[in-house]
Amino acid sequence: MTQTWAVVPMFNEGSVIASVVTELRKSIPNVVCVDDCSSDDSAAQAESAGAIVVRHPINLGQGASLQTGFEFVRSIPEMTEVVTFDADGQHQVADALAMVQKLRDEKLDIVIGSRFLDDRTDMSRLKRAVLRLATAYTRVTTGMALTDAHNGLRVISRDLLMKMQLKQNRMAHASELIDQVRLYKAKWAEHPTHIVYTDYSRGKGQSVLNSVNILVEIIFK
């Protein structure tokens, strides 16, 4: 029996999380939301929509939330793969399902979402340029020919998940995750994803300036 789990790191997403979880659970019923000590009712909203909620007692960051979610699902014997999904609703469930299928069909360890494999995703020129730069950095440091290194939508197999150990608590975890894919010589592939930038997700998302923080976090591990 295969069982897909969704891990959703969550911080103050009370206004959207219920609909995101509901939408997700239509096709992936097993959803764990990691509440990073939100000050709003995110945890209650996620629970009412049917998600399991793991609550951080203090705010630790998105990378730490992902790792907590990973450690939670590791203890579930039926879990065969995990989908990482952003809480602000910018990802498409259909993309996630296609990625799970791809992982199983091609016996991969990880399928990484990419905004740059097709032209569905509409974003500002500056954001595109910064993401391209971040991806170029990842390519140089890991030697992996990725097109989008900072996409929150991924599908990870049980085998790889058991080894994952994210130590970057904040934003540099995306690069760190890719680094571990290389370290464990995991079989990976990319999959085109459509990111919908609503006003809400734009407001919540990373500002372009945050790339400075990511770079510093990567250099001064």
């Binding site: 069982q3 990691v34 399991i52 909620v53 793991v54 609550r55 951080h56 007692p57 203090i58 630790l60 730490a64 790792q67 907590t68 450690e71 939670f72 203890s75 579930i76 039926e78 130590k167 608590n169 001064f220």
Partner: protein, 116 residues
């Protein structure tokens, strides 16, 4: 005027020395304390006998004793920043582990077994 400043500064140095060197600790702290002691001696001597610093500075070709003190202070400050950053990261990692275990344990206590 100078003598009053010297006395006040010396009292400050002695106070700092007393506060930082006091208390028992692990062997690892020893090196840090030796450096701290040197730092305090440097601070004290620069108040009592600034000409020693001028002499040392001229030997090193730096010029004024005050300049030499500034360079040493900048280096010491950088070392302090580095050490503090490393210690901070260690504490952060430990805290993350504790918080994560607490979060997972609490969830488990709530549901006994994860709903499968």
């Amino acid at each position: 005027m100078t003598i009053i400043f010297q006395i006040i500064a010396l009292i400050a140095v002695v106070l700092v020395a007393f506060l930082t060197l006091r208390g028992g600790g692990a062997r690892r702290q020893a090196v840090q304390r030796i450096f701290m002691l040197l730092f305090i001696l440097a601070a004290g001597s620069s108040i009592i006998a600034p000409q020693v610093w001028t002499f040392a500075a001229q030997l090193l070709g730096v010029g004024r004793g005050a300049d030499l003190l500034l360079y040493i202070t900048v280096l010491a400050f950088l070392a302090f920043v580095g050490a503090t950053y490393r210690r901070f990261r260690r504490i952060e990692n430990d805290m993350t582990d504790i918080a994560r275990q607490l979060a997972l344990t609490r969830e488990k206590a709530q549901h006994n077994e994860p709903e499968v």
